[in-house]
Structure formats: structure tokens, C-alpha cells
């Protein structure tokens, strides 16, 4: 063996050694680059990995005065409590349904970006784009306020239109209906976020080579054909990556909006994991451990979903598109 090693020695100087030795060599050579990386990595270590130390309170009966380490270890108690809670099934289903439903809005920004890209008048295009971004900048509280005002059957635009068209009395109040919560939630979200989400696709589209378009034109492709056969394949990798990332956040449905849109009558559909964690984990009795346990459960599902999507994407695209 030693002879063999010695034989290979000259080659070793050309091909970097394996493992740590190789790393060390590279590190010494590129130390300035590594120094630069620290700036990028430090926030991650400090603000993303550091706090994970505290995740253990999900398995402890955390009391502030005892500290994280000093609190009693209770194992799976909080997970048990959540899973046996009579509300668990409904809350979990609510969260799942609303996140799956939210997925229908995924292709919309893509279509919109393709449309923007196909516009001929540059000025009209940029005005339309800017207008479509605007709702994104409205704060969620104000946004839900606007929604409530518009949809008020007594004093809102919705009620007034109803009466204008000859209706008598008041129309159904969708804000308080359990059945309409999901539609309101998803489609108001589309209105608010669609313009903003086009940005990424627009930038991907701008890098499509104009030669491809010219070639397609020469071959007699129509505008629509060019969108389908030139633009869309060009942004496909971006779309796939966005989908994977989206799947990673599938169960973590935004807390504020649902919380703001809740009313006593629509709770049966509007109570989500995130709002329940807030109510039971923070507001009730400072049950930080319980809140952490539920969030951890939530995160575990999210990670699993993301890995599945990532794996599928890897298989389908033959290792071309994946985030890990």
C-alpha cells in the first residue's frame, strides 16, 4: 500500500488531496475570499442558526426565571397536547386547504409577466407594471381595512352597487361567512401580490436572447407562438425554483392577514395553525413551550414538503433544477 501511495505521489501534487487536507490547502490559498464569506455567513449563524438553540424549549416546560437549560424536560408533552386538541384536525385542515388553494395563484404572475413582456408600447408597459406593484406596499392592516370597507354590505362599495342594481336591503356579508373566507383570503392576496411577483419573471424574460425571437419570426411564428415556444421555456428554470421555494413555505400561511380577517362567525375556516399558536402560545398564558412545539411541528412538515418537491424536480429535470 505504501508503495502504491508513493507511486501516486507526483500525481497528488497536481490533483488536490481529498477531504480536510484539500480543504486546508484551498483555505490557505483563498483565505481572502473566505474572509469575505464571513460577512455573508455571520448573519446566518447569528440570526438563523444561533436561535435554534432555543428550539429545545419545545421539549421543556419553559419558565423564564428558570432559563432554557434550567427548565424541566417534558419530552413530547406539548406535541401530544396539540395533536390531541379537539381543534387540531380542523386547524390543520384549514391551514392545508388554504395553502393548497393559494397555489392556484402561482401561475398568475407568470402569465402576467409574459403579457407585460409581450406589450409593444414601452411607456404603457412600465405604467401598468408600476400600478400593479402598488398594492404590495400597502401594510397588511390597512389592506384588510380597505377590504372590509369595500365589502361592507351597509356602507361599502359592494353594498352600494348591490342597491344600485336594484337589490333591496343588504347583500350577503362575505366578510363574516365561514364559506367565503378562503376565497377572500386567496383572491385578495392575488390582487395584492401578483404585480410584485412578476418582477422575478420579468427580469428572467429580459435575458431571453433577441436572436431567438428573430429566428422564430423568420420561421413565421406568431406573437403567441413565440411566447409559448421561446419565452416560456426560457423562464422555466426560474419557475421551477420558485415552485420549490413556494412548497417550502406551504404550511406557514401568513399570520397577520388571517388574524385580521377573523370574525366570530368565520373562525371555523379562518383559524389557522399560525393564529392558534399566537392565541394559545402567547396571548393566553405565555406558554412559549407550547407555541414553539406547534411551530416546530409546522416547520417539520414544511421541510418535508420542500424536500419532496425538490426530489421530484431533480428526477423530472435530471438534476438540472433543484435547490439542494
Amino acid at each position: 500500500m505504501t508503495a502504491a501511495k508513493r507511486n501516486k505521489a507526483p500525481v497528488n501534487t497536481l490533483i488536490p488531496k481529498r477531504g480536510f487536507a484539500r480543504f486546508k490547502k484551498n483555505f490557505l490559498r483563498d483565505r481572502q475570499l473566505y474572509l469575505l464569506i464571513i460577512i455573508g455567513i455571520a448573519p446566518f449563524l447569528l440570526f438563523h442558526y444561533g436561535p435554534m438553540y432555543g428550539v429545545q424549549i419545545a421539549f421543556r416546560n419553559y419558565r423564564i426565571s428558570d432559563g432554557i437549560i434550567g427548565s424541566e424536560w417534558v419530552g413530547w408533552k406539548w406535541f401530544n397536547e396539540f395533536l390531541t386538541d379537539p381543534n387540531f384536525k380542523r386547524i390543520f385542515l384549514n391551514t392545508l386547504i388554504i395553502s393548497l388553494y393559494s397555489l392556484v395563484s402561482f401561475p398568475l404572475p407568470i402569465i402576467m409577466a409574459l403579457l407585460f413582456n409581450a406589450m409593444r408600447k414601452q411607456r404603457y408597459k412600465s405604467v401598468a407594471q408600476t400600478i400593479s406593484y402598488m398594492p404590495h406596499f400597502i401594510s397588511m392592516t390597512v389592506f384588510v381595512g380597505i377590504l372590509n370597507l369595500i365589502l361592507s354590505p351597509t356602507s361599502g362599495i359592494y353594498g352600494n352597487i348591490f342597491r344600485l342594481l336594484g337589490g333591496s336591503g343588504y347583500p350577503t356579508d362575505f366578510r363574516t361567512l365561514a364559506g367565503s373566507f378562503r376565497h377572500l383570503y386567496v383572491w385578495s392576496g392575488v390582487w395584492q401580490g401578483m404585480g410584485w411577483q412578476t418582477i422575478l419573471y420579468t427580469s428572467a424574460l429580459s435575458s431571453v436572447s433577441s436572436e431567438l425571437h428573430e429566428a422564430a419570426c423568420l420561421d413565421g411564428a406568431s406573437r403567441f407562438k413565440r411566447i409559448i415556444h421561446v419565452d416560456l421555456p426560457a423562464i422555466m428554470p426560474t419557475i421551477a425554483i420558485m415552485l420549490i421555494l413556494r412548497m417550502g413555505g406551504l404550511i406557514s400561511v401568513g399570520f397577520e392577514k388571517a388574524y385580521l380577517m377573523q370574525s366570530p362567525l368565520n373562525l371555523s375556516t379562518s383559524e389557522l395553525i399560525s393564529t392558534y399558536v399566537y392565541k394559545r402560545g402567547l396571548s393566553d398564558f405565555r406558554r412559549f413551550s407550547y407555541g414553539t412545539a406547534v411551530s416546530l411541528f409546522n416547520t417539520a412538515i414544511n421541510v418535508t414538503l420542500m424536500l419532496i418537491t425538490n426530489y421530484t424536480s431533480k428526477k423530472v429535470t435530471e438534476d438540472e433544477i433543484s435547490v439542494i
Binding site: 423564564i64 333591496s168 361567512l177 365561514a178 366570530p264 399566537y278 396571548s283
Partner: protein, 534 residues
Amino acid sequence: MKKGKKMTRVMGFVLALMMVLGLLSGCGGNGGSQSSGKKLTIGIPQSGMVTDYYDNSFTKYIEEKLGAEVEFVLFSRASEAMNQLALMCAAGDELPDVLVGFSNMSGSLMYEYGQDGFFIDLKDLIDQYGTEFKKHMEALPQDEYDRVMDFITKPDTGAIYGLPTYAAVDTDDYVQNLMFINEQWLNELNLEAPTNIDELYDVLVAFRDEDPNNNGRADELPMLSPAIYYWVINAFVYFDSVNPYNITDGKVWAPTMSEEYRQALAYLRKLYSEGLIKFDSPAADAKNTISGDGTTARVGIWCGYPTTSLNHSSQVLDQYVVLAPLADETGKGGYLVERPNDLLLTGHITKDCKDPELAMRFLDICYEDGSVTRRRWGEEGTNWVWVDEAEPNNYGGLSHIKVLNSDLFGSNNVTWGSFLPNIYTDENYLVIASTVPGFDKENSRLCTAQVELARTWRQPTEKVTSLKLTLEERAERETINGKYTTTLSQYFGLFLSGKLDSSKDADWNKFVSDLEACGVTRLVEIYQAAYDRQ
């Protein structure tokens, strides 16, 4: 080339300057004005009504009395402020010297903060500096004195971690808001005010169909909730939404699992499906609805504070009278629920307070009669005056406080707009009726009628709120009640919207078994044990 270099240098200088300025402005907040005197930091949930806490006549009044400078740490609204406080403690942040106005603080939560060392024990401080507090407490009748002391004292150690706001007055602010019915509509349709649920149904149908406001349009809303459905449930069974447990003949039971509650749900479903009751969720929306167009009323029956439930410009309030609690078809029921907020925990001194004596003196100043009136009405002399000649108030007594300025329900900088540790008495709280701002005569009429009714109306003889629980039992109650209220409101929505049918045994049993799974039966046992101990 040379020019480019110069440009880079200029840009570099500008960037460096910006960074330095950024650092400086970051420090600005902490610098503050250095004064030679003492300083007290007060943590208070911010009120939207208050335009400025520093340039504020109540602040000036406190600073003058205290002989120290006051600084504020502003929290968000009362309910969210509790979460903010919890997070501050968990993160190990420095707390303000004193916390006032955290009116959502529950007894068990306060004990826990005390036990964890975040609040300090005020017992000795009260003995030494709490003269005004003691004076007002000793003026209370013995049973009320005991109730307040029990509430603020930790049962096992006897430590006091907070001072109370206690309303030792009988005003409309401290009974559950009664229902108001449009008397003009009743007269228009030749109807009597309903006394039970069957009559209520007929009246609501008439309100809906017969255009009582005479404008030729079907814009009438017979009944407006959210709070009002409690009254309908209470026609069937005593139901206190905060503590939904009852005691009858020495037995504790949960009204939500009873046959009466089931009937109440069916009845509400009937009203809802026929468009007789409407749930307006955002408060501002309900306000517009009740106010109508200013002269024409739109709502038949509603419930809320007469002072704040309508827009100020609206004239429709004079059409309404108080509607007594309703009975069910057998004549039973018709209970009146008291508001539970006549006793709150609103003043705490924290572990980070360097001068507990100063903090305690501040809390004690809040108990002075002058401070109590100032808290509510603003500056003495400008907003209200103390007159020697007493005149009638809204509640059948005489008062010396004459309100001059009537704009205190809007934005102002003369109060702090939140609860402070106070003991309200007839002397310092009730004002001369003719000077009450807001809706003046009409408002007073409704307030007076509410209180008169509240004094005479039916109440259960025993309530779970008076039972004493141990610390462990309290903690268990909080856990169970958290799930309980969520389940209750979810099912309420399901039953009301018709997704579930309370008359179907399968749906009803599912509801009851879910309540049991929350631990309601366990909590009934806890209450029963506490009841048997007494």
C-alpha cells in the same frame, strides 16, 4: 483618469459621512435630556386618542406632584401589550420602572410574573407610602374590601404584585351593555316591546318587512350583533361568555353542554337564516350602521355603549329605549350578565426599578380623588371644575363634578387614555348629568335606565367567579379555557351558518364530545372541588 479618482474619493467621503450620521441618529434616542432631578420610566399601552404623552397636561400634573421627571415606554393596545411584555421578559430586556394600564393582566399571570421576579412585592411599600390607596380601600364596605384584597394578593405567600383599578360605583360602564330597541319603530307598527323570545321574533319580522322607518326602502336591520347574541343565549340559560360555568343548588355545570344552550343555538340559527340578526364585524362599520344616515335609523335592536356606538353627528339615539333582558317561552331565563371588568390589575413595579419609593409614590398619587377625575375628564379648571353646589347625576345621586369641555372622547393631550390604578367612588367618578359630554340628554337617559334595570334584574345567586382556586388549578383553568373558547366560537359559527345543525343529535354530540375533549368536564370538577371547600 484623474477625474474618476477624484469622483471615487468624493463618493467615499459622502458614504462615510452618511454612515457616521446614521450611527449618531441611532444614538439620539438614548441620549435624552439630562436633568438633575429624579426620573421615573412608565410603561403604558398607547391609546389612539392621545396625541402626545410628553406635552400632556396629565403628565405635567404627575410630574409636579411627584417632583420627578416622567418618561414613557409606549406599548401597543392593551391586548397586544401583554404579548409585548411577555416577549420583553423572555428576551431579558430592561423593563420600565412602573407598568400601568395593562388591563388584560389576569391574576394568575401576575402571580407568575411576581414569582419569576419580574414584578416586586408591594406589601411593605404600600404600608409606607400608600396612604391614598389605603384611605380609599378602607372606605370600601367590608365585602368589597375583601374581594379587592383577595384579587391582588397571591394566595400562598401573601405577596402583592399589583395594584387594582376598582369601580366602587354603579354605572353603566360596569354592567354588561343592555340592548336598545327603537321605540319609534315600535310605535309606528303599533307593537309592544318584546319580553320573551317569541315576541322578539314577531317584532323582528315586523321590523324587517313593514318599513318602520318610512323611507320606502327595505334598509332596516332588525338586530345587530356581535355582542347582542349573548343576550339571546341568556334568555335560555345564564351564560357569561368569559366564565361559562354555572352553579345551581351546589352543583357546578357547563351551560354550553345544556339542552337550553342547544335551543338557543337553534333559535339564533332561525334568526340568522331569516336575516333578522346581522353580524357586523369591524366596530367602525357597526357604528356607521347604527348611526343610519343621521336622521333615519336603520337598526331595530343593538347593544353597546350609547356614548361611543354612534357617530357624533347622528340624531337617531333619541329613538331608542332600553330593552329588558328577555325570557324564553316558559318565562324562565332573562338573566343579566355583569361586566367582569369592574376590578382590574393596572399598576406594577418591575424588577428594574431603581427607586421603588418614587414608583410607589407615583402609584399612590393615582389614587388621589383629583387624579381619578383628571384621568377621565382631563385638566381641572379647563375641562372640568369642582362645584360646591351638588347637582343630580345620571344614577340617582348628587355630584360635585361639572364637566366643561365635551370633546374628550376624541383626540386629546390632557389624559393618558388608559386605565390607571384608581378606585372610583361616587365622589370622584360621577359627574353632574346635565354636563355629560357626548349625547347629553339622550345618552344620560339610556345610562340611567340601564343602571336602574341592572340593579333590579335577575342574577344567579352563586357564580364561579367568586370561587377561590389554587395556583395549580388556575394554571389548569387557563389551559382548558384557551381551547374551550376556541372550540366554542368555532362551533358557534358552524351552527349559526347552518354547516352543522344543532337539532341533529349527531352534530350536537360531536360538539359536546369536543368540549369534553377540551377538558370542560375537568374544569367543572375543579370548580366543584373549590365550591365544596368553601
